[in-house]
Symmetry: C2
Subunit: 364 residues, 2 copies
């Protein structure tokens, strides 16, 4: 697996080699509305399968009227669609949570476990219609052909979507990413893209689709990717409890300058991203030069896209000295972000959407 | 108009007589999942029209293929649906905002400008289908037959929904409320019920439906019910700016005990409501006896309903002394509420969803 990262840019930051996990430098993330494929973040829990497209078969079963086995050629006759969508790992910005209290055994993501691309493929609902949905089916489960190991057991990564979401037009079985075939790291030959949901539901190297009456019982749906209250720890957790993650929450990040930067005092250009989960849009982004006492509006770049982040920039006056710069966003449901990291701390380190703060020093 | 409140309960709290505005005492609000009609909050901007159902006509026009004029009898042949839905004024909990800085000319609502009912009527989309939607129509505007006066000009209250929402199955033209005909105060004979959106979009005494390419230009859509940043005031406001309110945000409130209550030290029963706007569900409610440093989970009562609030209760230990009790909720997008009132302050006093706090004194 030594050349797993071979399709990635020289600046790609690798957080772990096996499984391969990494993301782009933050300034690169804020530079383009759609992230180049060679910089798009990678979140894996197991191997990167090498799949021969000629022998690849997708299995659709469970509570369906006609179980299907489809080759890639069978998909070619189906309608296609594309969507500009942001994917984000539920563990994005975990490093800020881990600084408050440990998040044992979890990857210490900075704010780079998020990227955006234009995905194209067959809407999942075309496949579900072809298979025919049985009465009583309420969830659509996916498994990957990767190889994950947990406690000596080997299995494929999996997760599920509620049926209503699975039938929405934006959910694709994608085979291209920014106009190019899916790279191996991103799920070649076929992956789910579930816009608005945590990245873990956009299953890569898609192998099976199973309609069922309950959410997936795969480890990554039934056990991992659950949100626990702040007073729960690895020691006292009841894994049956906790909230199964689904829709993303509202977040925003300063990508440039970097925390710890030494700047010339005066007007400073801030750049970053803001992302509203679910079907919500980013309506406003605000930045602060004094840690959140006073705010000014940032400029939203580009046009709103239902399923994609919004890049932003702001010029803010920074006098000589040490300062905490902060950002927060507002979404189309008139919601904003929690202010303090400790308000959203959880021992799995998920869904940190507190105000993003960076420490800078301005010199004359 | 002296008997405007005649159908209301003796305990109904009247905030203004003309126009009639008021709501129930908070403990009554937390007592039943669906609010009795005689306690349901009332938010008016003008008169309460007295409409003869025999002469009532609903006009559907604008960008439609077949303008329609419908009598109530014409609606009787159409499919019907019901929805358990919470309505909330965007100004709910304004009193907490006004305590930070003035919200000039706005009604000083406590936390009672919210209620829930089972609504029944004709799905709006049935009417829209009957009229036929022209290409280019993207908003559905409503006007009321009430009489609002602003700056000497008289007009009917109005507002609009995006077409996609107007076509959703939960949006009704309701003629009953908790199984009874709509009371005059609540829009007899016909009103819009737009679950998940601010109450102002659920137009009462519905008179016209107009399909158009832009949101309503009615005062209450184009001018009022907009969310401005904290640094904007009545003096420096540009009314073209600000965010047009739509989906409700996540909120939660302690209804019982009341703020200022003197309690026996020891376990105290807290009761209240939590409401997630849009299509989101309330997933968790937490209460704190120390102003938000430590939290414990409340018990969610009843079953989740997509469009209705969730009542909750919690027993919390309160030692002798003065305390600030607090509540916050988490929704199905893994979002929680902002902690401080000042974080959400705006001069119109809308969408206060900061942690709800009450001051109590416990005695031995």
């Amino acid at each position: 697996m030594s050349d797993q990262a071979s399709s990635k840019h020289a600046n790609f930051i690798i957080r772990s080699q096996e499984p391969l996990n990494g993301g782009p430098p933050l300034p690169a993330l804020a530079a383009t509305a759609m992230t180049p494929n060679d910089l798009f973040f990678v979140r894996n829990h197991g191997s990167i399968p090498q799949i021969d497209p000629a022998v690849f078969r997708l299995e659709i079963g469970g509570m369906v009227q006609r179980p299907l086995t489809l080759a890639l050629a069978d998909l070619r006759g189906l309608p296609r669609a594309s969507v500009a969508a942001t994917l984000q790992c539920a563990g994005n910005r975990r490093d800020e949570l881990s600084a408050v209290a440990p998040t044992p055994g979890e990857l210490p993501w900075g704010a780079e476990a998020i990227s955006s691309a234009v995905w194209e493929g067959v809407p999942l609902r075309e496949i579900l219609r072809a298979a025919g949905i049985d009465t009583g089916a309420t969830h659509v489960a996916f498994t990957s052909s990767d190889d994950v190991e947990r406690s000596g057991r080997h299995f494929g990564f999996g997760g599920s979507l509620p049926l209503a979401k699975a039938l929405a037009p934006e959910v694709l079985l994608a085979d291209t990413m920014n106009g190019a075939p899916l790279p191996a790291e991103h799920g070649f030959p076929l992956r789910v893209v579930a816009p608005g949901y945590i990245g873990a539901r956009s299953v890569k190297w898609l192998q099976t689709i199973t309609l069922q009456a309950e959410p997936s019982d795969n480890y990554f749906q039934a056990h991992a990717y659950k949100l626990f209250p702040t007073d729960i720890t690895a020691q006292n957790v009841d894994w049956q409890g906790g909230m199964m993650l689904g829709e993303q929450s509202l977040t925003s990040v300063i990508c440039d300058p970097a925390t710890g930067a030494k700047l010339a005092a005066g007007p400073v250009l801030l750049r970053g991203y803001a992302y509203a989960g679910g079907e919500r849009l980013v309506e406003r982004v605000e930045v602060s030069a004094d840690g959140g006492a006073c705010w000014q509006q940032a400029e939203l770049l580009g046009q709103p896209e239902r399923w994609a982040w919004r890049l932003w920039q702001a010029r803010i006056d920074v006098p000589p000295g040490r300062h905490t710069l902060a950002v927060r966003a507002w979404d189309s449901a008139a919601q904003t972000q929690p202010s303090e990291i400790c308000q959203v701390w959880n021992f799995k380190g998920y869904m940190n959407n507190a105000w993003h703060r960076i420490a800078v020093e301005a010199v004359e």
